[in-house]
C-alpha cells in the first residue's frame, strides 16, 4: 500500500520495483529529422516575412534545418519548398506533393538532407521508416541514389570532404556523384561546404542573416 505522495522524482513510492524505474526510454531520434525539417522551414518562413506557407511555396524560398544533437552537428539545406505540403503536419500525414515534376525536386532535397544527416549521425538514417519508403518509391525518377538512404551510406558518393555540415543554395536535383544540377541544367554546382566550427560558432541572428543573403 502506498500511503504517501512523493513529489521528489527521486523518491518513488517505496514499492515501485527498482528494475522498473531503472528502465530508460528508447531514443526518439527517428523523429528528429522530420521535426527539425519542419521547424527550420517554419523559422525561415517567419524570418523571411512570408505570412503563409502557400506564399512561401510560390516564391520558392525555404530552408530546412536539421540539427543532429547527438553529434552536435547542424545541417542546413536551403532549397525550394515546392511540394512541401503543410509544414508542421504530422509525419503520418506526410507532405504529399501536388505536382509530380516538382515533387521529384522535393524528394531529391529531402533525400539529400537525409543522407547528409545520416552521415552526421554515424551513418545511421534518422528519417522515419515510412518516409524512407516513400523516397525509395520516388527515387528512380528523382535522380538520387537509393543507397544514400539506407544503412552503410556510401560516403564517397557525396564527397567525404563535405564533412558533416553542408550548405546548399537553391539546388534542383543531385546527380549520382552528389553534385547538384542547376535548374537550367546548364551547369553543375557542387554544394558549398561550411566548416563545422563556423556553424557552431554562429549566433542565431548571424545564421538568419546568412539565410537571407543566400536567397
Amino acid at each position: 500500500m502506498i500511503d504517501s505522495i512523493p513529489e521528489n522524482p527521486e523518491s518513488f513510492p517505496r514499492d515501485t520495483p527498482s528494475w522498473l524505474s531503472q528502465l530508460r526510454p528508447s531514443s526518439a531520434s527517428s523523429l528528429q529529422a522530420s521535426v527539425f525539417y519542419h521547424a527550420g522551414y517554419e523559422a525561415a518562413r517567419r524570418e523571411l516575412g512570408k505570412n503563409a506557407w502557400q506564399r512561401a511555396t510560390l516564391v520558392a524560398v525555404a530552408a530546412s534545418v536539421i540539427i543532429v544533437t547527438g553529434s552536435g552537428a547542424l545541417l542546413f539545406t536551403l532549397g525550394k519548398p515546392i511540394g512541401l505540403g503543410i509544414p508542421g503536419r504530422s509525419v503520418s500525414e506526410g507532405n504529399a506533393p501536388a505536382a509530380p515534376d516538382k515533387s521529384r525536386e522535393l524528394r531529391s532535397q529531402i533525400a539529400y538532407a537525409a543522407s547528409a544527416s545520416s552521415i552526421a549521425n554515424n551513418n545511421q538514417p534518422i528519417l522515419p521508416a515510412w518516409l524512407q519508403s516513400q523516397f525509395q518509391r520516388a527515387l528512380p525518377t528523382a535522380n538520387v541514389p537509393m543507397n544514400l538512404l539506407g544503412p552503410g551510406v556510401e560516403l564517397g558518393q557525396i564527397g567525404a570532404d563535405w564533412d558533416k555540415i553542408i550548405l546548399m543554395k537553391s539546388p534542383a536535383n543531385f546527380d549520382n556523384a552528389g553534385n547538384t544540377v542547376s535548374q537550367s541544367n546548364q551547369s553543375l554546382e557542387k554544394p558549398k561546404p561550411i566548416e563545422p566550427q563556423t556553424w557552431r560558432s554562429m549566433r542565431d541572428d548571424q545564421i538568419k542573416s546568412l539565410l537571407k543573403g543566400l536567397l
Partner: protein, 164 residues
C-alpha cells in the same frame, strides 16, 4: 496578426535533447498516434516566443491534447497510415537480462490508458503528481491512486520473472 516570434533553434535543439525521448515514451502511452503527437508538440514549441516554465509538462500537455483531438476526429483516424514495427520497444535494452523490454512495453500498452499515462509520466518522465494532475485534469490524489494501481498491476505481471 503576424507573429514573428519563434523559439530560437538552439533552445529547440536543447529541448529536443533533454525531453524528446521521455516525451515519446509518454506519448506512446496515449495511443498509436504517440509519435505524431511528439512531432506536433515540438512544432508547437518551436512556435513559442519563449521556452515554457516547465517544458516537459508543457510538451506532454500539448501532445496529449493533440491525441485527444485526433481521437475525436473520424477523418483523422481514417487518414492515418502509420508504418511502425509490430513490436516496438519503449525502452532501451535493460542491463538486467531477466527483463524483456518488449514485454514491459506490451504490459504498459495493456494497462488502462489512464493508468499507463500516469505511470509513464511519473516514473520515466519524472513529472510530479502535481504536474500530471494538471496535464490530465484530475486531482493529485486521483493521479497518485492511478499510479499505485499501475505499479501494482505491473508488479503482479512480472512477479514470476523479477525478484525484488
Amino acid at each position: 496578426m503576424k507573429n514573428d516570434q519563434v523559439l530560437p533553434l538552439d533552445q529547440l535543439s536543447k529541448a529536443w535533447e533533454d525531453f524528446a525521448d521521455r516525451l515519446l515514451l509518454i506519448a506512446r502511452s496515449f495511443g498509436e498516434s504517440g509519435e505524431d503527437a511528439v512531432q506536433e508538440a515540438f512544432m508547437a514549441l518551436s512556435r513559442q516566443p519563449k521556452m515554457p516554465d516547465e517544458p516537459l509538462a508543457w510538451l506532454v500537455k500539448v501532445a496529449r491534447n493533440q491525441v485527444l483531438q485526433w481521437n475525436r476526429s473520424e477523418q483523422r483516424r481514417t487518414q492515418r497510415h502509420v508504418v511502425r514495427a509490430k513490436d516496438t520497444a519503449w525502452f532501451e535494452n535493460s542491463e538486467q537480462e531477466s527483463i524483456d523490454v518488449l514485454d514491459v512495453s506490451e504490459a504498459l500498452k495493456m494497462l488502462p490508458a489512464d493508468l499507463s499515462e500516469v505511470v509513464t509520466m511519473h516514473l520515466w518522465g519524472q513529472l510530479t503528481f502535481e504536474q500530471i494532475a494538471d496535464v490530465v485534469g484530475s486531482s493529485r490524489s486521483t493521479v497518485h491512486r492511478r499510479y499505485s494501481d499501475a505499479i501494482q498491476i505491473l508488479r503482479q505481471r512480472f512477479s514470476c520473472h523479477i525478484e525484488r
